[in-house]
Amino acid sequence: MKRLFVLFDGECALCGRCREWLARQPAFLELEFIPFQSPEVRARFPGIEALHPEEQLLVVSDEGAVYRGPQAWIMCLYALREYRAWSQRLAHPALLPWARRVCELLSENRLQVSRWMKLEALRLDPTR
């Protein structure tokens, strides 16, 4: 595993902020961000729509391993130099249900949270 593709919501400001933060961190694995609305997603991962990238964050490795929702978040942390230890902790059976709950809450309300935080929606631009 050398690279992770992060399929995020290009219309959600919070997701854009998270992406910017992730991209700034020193990483063990290369992270490539693709908004799920982009046609590139279907071209690169045929049949990915069946996994509903619009519902939850999806992370796909260069080997085709798919992680959804909280697992996808944990994999993002796993890619980062400073947070890999945290990915191990959060993946522990005792903490995973909590991680899942927080991720689901955030995913479901991401547009609302973005509004509360007064984040401006980023324009859909796959080159960014």
Partner: protein, 133 residues
Amino acid sequence: MTPIVWTYFTYLLISVSLTVWVAKTLYKNGRIFLVDTFRGNEPLADSINHLLVVGFYLINIGYVSLALREVQMPVDLQGVLETLSRKVGVVLLVLGGMHFFNLLVFSKMRKRVLLHRLPPPLPPQTQVPVAAG
């Protein structure tokens, strides 16, 4: 020779031999640790080990020579022993501190490397084909 010169000589002898002993211990036992950390890459482990020991020598011998001068001149054997004991005690504490600092460096390095080698914490939920691109 005056008592203070005797104190100085004995102080130097004891402090330098202690430094050499601690450095040798560090060198010998740290090597095994480093070789394991760097997956059996012995030249790299030896190089890092050597660099650490050189730093250890420089700091300790530097401290020992800086702390040599004594303001209160001992006049008899009791004074010599007291001064010597105090000076060597401080050197021992500095050596101890440096030794633990080195252990900390070793364990930090090891943690870093182990983290790099760690497999993903979770199994994938499913598998998709990836088109080249």
